[in-house]
């Protein structure tokens, strides 16, 4: 599903250049649940941004579902994002003047789905994350865990090929974190490909594979025995 070869990325910091990604190679197959681990500054967020087409690599190849991702302009990137990717962010990034339902329906608006179908579909995904009763509530009326579940529903509503989660539990307490991870595992069980960036060991072990980044290189890439989050909930 995802294929990267010799990926390099550096940032200019004034006169100095900071080499963040130093030639990464890996691939992710359909249906995998991968954790990308590393301490802050290891380059994990940069990698996720490149995978999410929010940022562009300096060199290297990136293929997503057989489509080479290169020479992106904003319009093209927007099209691919809408078609291939769903995002879950640490800070939820819900639009605060829209209700939970409208937030979930938003990616469908950009897919030009008619309003009625948008709402039906959005409600279906809200139901999946257990927030059907909260559909008309604004984000600031929801708890952190509920917000993240809305964000996950929103990411899933577009039916993406890959779900990219950047520290999805970073702003949550451990009990809520496990609830969110439980949800992510269930979505993965349905066959969705998911990438989770985290620096928490227990969260990483709830995935099926851990890629360890340090100073811009992959130091470890191993399959792990998945810990089910449901046992903590």
């Amino acid at each position: 599903m995802i294929e990267i070869k010799e990926l390099h990325k550096s940032y200019k910091m004034g006169a100095n250049s900071l080499h963040v990604l130093k030639g990464l190679n890996f691939s992710i197959k359909e249906g995998e649940l991968v954790a990308i681990m590393g301490s802050s500054g290891s380059g994990k967020s940069t990698l996720l941004n490149i995978l999410g087409m929010l940022d562009e690599a300096d060199s290297g190849e990136y293929t997503l579902d057989g489509v080479p991702i290169k020479n992106l302009n904003e319009t093209k990137a927007a099209k691919y994002r809408n078609k291939f990717l769903g995002f879950v962010f640490q800070s939820f990034n819900l639009i605060n003047y829209k209700s939970a339902l409208e937030n979930v329906a938003l990616p469908l608006y950009y897919q030009k789905v008619p309003r009625k179908q948008r709402e039906e579909k959005a409600l279906k995904y809200l139901e999946q994350v257990g927030l059907k009763e909260w559909a008309e509530h604004l984000p600031n009326e929801l708890s952190g865990g509920q917000k993240q579940r809305v964000a996950i529903a929103r990411a899933m509503a577009a039916e993406p090929k890959v779900l990219l989660a950047d520290e999805p539990t970073g702003a949550l307490d451990s009990k809520t974190s496990y609830e969110v991870m439980d949800l992510i595992q269930k979505i993965n069980d349905q066959g969705n490909t998911i990438l989770v960036v985290t620096h928490e060991e227990d969260i990483a072990h709830m995935c099926k594979r851990i890629v360890h980044l340090k100073d811009g290189v992959i130091v470890e890439d191993k399959k792990v025995e998945q810990v089910r989050a449901s046992q903590y909930v």
């Binding site: 941004n49 999410g52 929010l54 940022d55 904003e74 319009t75 990137a77 927007a78 099209k79 994002r81 809408n82 078609k83 995002f87 962010f89 990034n93 819900l94 639009i95 003047y97 829209k98 409208e102 938003l106 990616p107 608006y109 950009y110 897919q111 030009k112 008619p114 309003r115 929103r154 577009a158």
Partner: protein, 414 residues
């Protein structure tokens, strides 16, 4: 533009950001409101002036004598100039082609006017039969002095309606009654209305009668003329200026007055006076336009300012939308669509409000020199369009920049 989904999305956003929408709308609406009111009063001022000048015939020229202040051809200054019948006749003959109507006037002073036992205190003026048109008096009863009356030195009088109301209120009509002027009975042959009461407190008798009966000799107090109408206002003014200078030159020559002596003979021309007022109103109109355009500019700056803040405030939302697959153009389109919609609605609201106000209050405004303020509808509508367009242009650049910020930076925006 006609994408119903886009409209729903925008109406949603507007509904949920009422304060922001209200403030944007208010600055636009008040800008338009102030402009329209200003323009309306500029026009009202013009109407008022035009109305004031409509009272007398617009092309009238008046002559009255003064006192010389300059020594000339051996004659001392301080000489009183007296107009004579000859001045009237010869000037009329000399400038025949330029004159439409003409009349001399003589003030009959130191006479008592009585109606029965009642003493009347009104001015008596001897005039010619064309005087009625020169002063725009409207005959409401009977007739004015005729040429025959002048030739026959008839003892007839025409009175103003105020006199008719005050003195003859018991009668159906004053026509046919007799008043005594210095003991000589004059038959009332008509009454007239004027725009002002003061001008209705006059009694007109034929100029020939006034001279003969009251020892006037051939003296006159005023000469009055009207000029024929010209194609355009400017042409009329030019003719009036020429007529005035020829008339003045002739009278100065006849009365041996220094050509530069400005106190000996006065000539007043309604047209030139009107031109001064019209150019004044033009300047005032220009000033109102200037203020109005400054108001619009302030409105545009206000709108762009708000657009800037709106875009700034929505940077993160833009980032989220882009992460969810919005294209830059759809972001720009959404922001512009929203701003154009708000400015257009509120602009027209301001327009309707201000025009309604002018329409309702305008006809009731009764102040000197301001009459029926109103505004040209197409001018007002085009200012709304200018404002909407300016708001769109002003909103475009921040929107375009925001849409092209890296999604990742937009998302980090707090």
């Amino acid at each position: 533009m006609f994408d119903i989904e886009r409209w729903q999305e925008i109406l949603d956003t507007i509904r949920k950001n009422k304060l922001r929408t209200f403030l944007t709308g208010l600055s636009v609406a008040s800008g338009i409101f102030i402009l329209v009111i200003l323009l309306g009063f500029g026009q009202g001022f013009r109407n008022g002036i035009a109305h004031e000048f409509a009272q007398d015939a617009a092309t009238s020229v008046w002559v009255w004598p003064g006192t010389t202040t300059k020594e000339y051809k051996g004659l001392n200054p301080g000489r009183n100039i007296e107009l004579r019948n000859a001045d009237f006749e010869f000037s009329g003959e000399l400038l025949k082609e330029d004159i439409e109507l003409k009349s001399p006037r003589i003030f009959v002073r130191n006479v008592s006017v009585n109606y029965g036992n009642e003493a009347l205190v009104y001015s008596v003026q001897g005039v010619s039969y064309q005087f009625q048109q020169i002063e725009n008096e409207k005959i409401s009863d009977g007739r004015f002095i005729s040429y025959q009356d002048e030739v026959n030195t008839a003892k007839v009088a025409v009175i103003g309606n105020k006199i008719a109301r005050d003195v003859f209120h018991d009668l159906d009509t004053p026509v046919g009654e007799f008043i005594d002027i210095s003991g000589i009975p004059f038959k009332i042959i008509g009454s007239f209305t004027e725009t002002e009461d003061r001008e209705e407190e006059r009694i007109f008798i034929p100029v020939t009668t006034a001279q003969r009966v009251f020892n006037g000799g051939d003296r006159l107090n005023n000469l009055a003329y009207t000029l024929p109408m010209a194609q355009s206002f400017d042409e009329a003014v030019a003719r009036s200026v020429k007529f005035r200078s020829r008339l003045l030159a002739y009278l100065q020559q006849v009365h041996t007055v220094h050509p530069d002596d400005s106190n000996a003979i006065f000539i007043w021309s309604a047209l030139e006076e009107a031109k001064r007022y019209y150019s004044l109103t033009d300047n005032i109109k220009l000033f109102f336009w200037f203020v109005g355009i400054c108001t619009i500019i302030a409105g545009v700056v206000g709108v762009s300012n708000i657009m800037l803040i709106v875009v700034r405030e929505r940077t993160k939302e833009i980032g989220i939308r882009k992460a969810l697959g919005a294209r830059p153009w759809s972001i720009v389109g959404m922001i512009l669509h929203e701003s154009i919609f708000i400015t257009a609605i509120s602009g027209f609201a301001g327009l309707i409000l201000s025009m309604g106000l002018l329409e309702i209050l305008g006809p009731h405004i009764e102040v000197d020199y301001i009459m029926n303020p109103s505004v040209n509808f197409s001018v007002a509508v085009s200012t709304v369009f200018v404002l909407v367009l300016a708001g769109a242009v002003a909103g475009f650049f921040p929107a375009w920049r925001a849409a092209n910020i890296h999604t990742i930076d937009a998302l980090r925006d707090e």
